[in-house]
């Protein structure tokens, strides 16, 4: 049996009166990459925020390594080994790259390991080493994304929550970032919960995927099977069969099967 590092059960999360998550359950097995796909406003980010403690669910449970963590403070959750890489990178713009990375290791106590991890991070992201002493605000978007991931790595997380790492990046950079994510998973054994709008890339690197619509999961399966699903192809991958008129603008109804 596969061991689940993270189990989310029936969570309901609200923004004021608005119910953003209407009962979501999902599992992230240890050592795997699991992806959540969905359109704008589906509730993807809310799932990550609920896991990392930034938001509290009104209902349901979040279990991380056998401990229920729903409703805990985000800093405590982070100390348990969950690193949240937020959407839009959110690096500290006025601090240098090196300082940003130190912030990632803020909660750690063993000094020795930090230095080694910095080496490891620079190994994955050589460009960060080149720019180690520049202010993070002057980095390009792709570099900031790398820094955000690197900063999270510095916390030595067992689970990394990645919120749309491809946002606003050029296709080449997207590929580069995803390659690194894949390597980090393989080589460092970091389990990942990846939220993405770039369904194609996400399904390439993840093992299992969930599709979220309006706060509810409508479909889930192994990624190689999701890639074959007619609904995923049409609504998430933009694959269109040649229509009689050469192009087809209307969409068939979603069935999620």
């Amino acid at each position: 049996m596969i061991e689940n590092l993270l189990s989310v059960r029936n969570i309901e999360t609200y923004y004021g009166p608005i119910m953003a998550l209407r009962g979501v359950s999902l599992d992230v097995p240890k050592g795997q990459i699991v992806t959540v796909l969905g359109a704008n406003g589906a509730g993807k980010t809310t799932i990550l925020k609920t896991v990392s403690g930034v938001m509290d669910p009104q209902k349901g449970s979040v279990t991380f390594e056998d401990n229920q963590i729903q409703g805990s403070d985000p800093d405590w959750v982070a100390r348990q080994g969950i690193a949240h890489v937020p959407e839009g990178r959110e690096v500290f713009p006025l601090l240098t790259v090196r300082e940003n990375l130190s912030m990632g290791a803020f909660a750690r106590t063993e000094r020795g390991g930090i230095g080694a991890d910095l080496e490891m991070v620079f190994d994955y992201f050589p460009i960060l080493q080149e720019r180690a002493d520049q202010q993070a605000g002057y980095l390009s978007g792709g570099q900031q994304q790398m820094l955000a991931i690197a900063r999270a790595l510095m916390a030595r997380p067992r689970l990394m929550l990645l919120d749309e790492p491809s946002l606003g990046l050029s296709p080449i950079l997207v590929k580069e970032i995803f390659d690194i994510i894949r390597r980090l998973n393989k080589e460092q054994g970091v389990t990942m919960l990846l939220v993405e709008q770039n369904a194609n890339m996400a399904l390439q690197i993840a093992g299992y995927g969930y599709v979220l619509e309006l706060g509810r999961i409508v479909m889930d399966d192994a990624c190689h099977r999701l890639l074959e699903s007619e609904d995923i192809k049409e609504f998430y991958l933009g694959v269109k069969k040649d229509a009689v008129r050469g192009r087809k603008r209307w969409r068939r109804k979603k069935t999620w099967r």
Binding site: R9, G23, K59
Partner: protein, 616 residues
Amino acid sequence: MDGSTGSIETDGVVFDGCDTLPKLFRKRYVEEADKIAMREKHLGIWRSITWREYGETAKDIGLGLMSMGLQRGETVSILSETNKEWMFADLGAIGAGATSSGIYTTDSAKQLEYVVRDSETGFLFVENEEQLDKYLQVRDNVPSLRKVIIMDLEGLRDFTDPIAMTWDELIETGRRYGAEHPAAWDDRIDGSSQDDTAILVYTSGTTGPPKGAMISNKNVIFQMGTARTMLEFHEGDNQLAFLPLCHIAERGFSMFLSMAYKTVVNFAESPETFAENVREVSPHVFFAVPRVWEKFYSGFTIQIRDATAIGKTMYSWAIEIGKRIAEHKIRGTEPSAKDRMLYRLADLLVLRNVKTMIGLGKTRWAATGAAPISPDLIRWYMALGINMLEVYGQTENTGVATANTLIDFKVGTIGKAMSDTEVKISERGEILIKGDHVFKGYFNNPEKTAETVIDGWLHTGDVGSVDSEGYFKITDRIKDIIITAGGKNITPSEMENQLKFSPYIADAVIIGDKRKFLSCLVMIDEDNVVKFAQDSDVPFSNYASLCRSSKVQELISTEISKVNKDFARVEQIKAFRLIEQVLTPEDEELTPTMKLKRNLVGQKYKELIDSMYQAA
């Protein structure tokens, strides 16, 4: 047993001085020109359409078709959702002497091909790009088609094809033709006769390919007249059109009866906004299929569970009083003065709000038909104070043959025969219907016609009975009767209706023909079961895992046990399975009115069904 009632008039059928549908239509758009005929929501605002606009647009459509050589008696087909253009195109075609045939938008390209070929359609209206694409896929197989008219051009600005023309072009052509031939339209209308086939209605066909039922002007006019004796319409009443107009029920209610009784038809925007539209329109008179009445009820029942303790107590108090009063009404007895007073209070404090919440605040009467309904559901609506009338009929008799009325009604029956309608039970228990609403026959299918109408009696295929007061009751479809391996005859629909009364069961099919025991396949009500799962912390990700979860299985099992209690030992449902896929009307297992098709379900889920009998 012979329960024939009513009498047949022999001196022709006339309504409001008109003997055909086009003549009555003309009378309406001339005499009622400035009154509102229909409303449609456009960009969020309800827009009124007068009889003048209705008439003139239909006329331009009809003339446009005539200018392209439409002959009297030719078929025009309409492939569109229910909207005002549907009605314009329909009456334009019928006015021009053609036969109008509706095609379900849920039909596939192949089904479209079949219907267009079978009906020998010359002109086809398509709603939009999506429907147009269906035609384009099969265009080579339907050479009889001369012109395709596109109603909504969105996304098709650059599309050109010699066979296609736009709605506006058709109207423009019609106007020009009308200017050149000022008498052409009226000549066609004057030349219409009672025997013309006004509409062709393809029956959903649970067995074999669909057949086109030919409904004549006489059928329609007769049906308009008989409706007066059973239903009470006031001029200007609001009603809501939302079912497919291809279906005889919606066509009859929203087109024929609204024309006859000058009511206002309001078009619902889409299935998604249906509930909201009901509240906005607040119809005075309301026809819907049982599925809709079930949905209102289950939606409300679930909502009340989340109400405050006071709210719940108030509701159960009020509905109990409502039920008591309803029982008196049903039995025809007088409630006590105290009960009457309590009811007034209950209505003021609770029941009125419940009705308003659903959108039935102004409803004088509601009607249900086209499928069987649970008597308990009718009682609930009656307890709210809504007169819920069950009617019965078929496409082949233009909609209604028997009906409960505001004066004569008996819950659990389909009412008495309508005026000038003979209804009787044949020796083998089949319900037979005779009257001027019995159709002309199936288009190009004399064999099937001969099997269906014998000596003027329409053989309905329904088994039923009649009581001493003349109220008819349907047991089931003849072909649906189950004979178990033990030789016991079982009529499944009564049990199925009881199952559907559960808020968690959307539809169910009982199985057991030539089997050792009864079992059933259940389609869950997704919204309500999801809510149940959330409330009781049942983890699930998708529909299938929801169906498979043990708590949901238990829930349905409990619901089935409740129904089992009401039935004899041989009629117990001993096993069940859930259909683990969300079904939509596009799926062949469902009719356009969201009923499960017994035969198809039996074939498609054969393995699942067999598994129930292997396990036992």
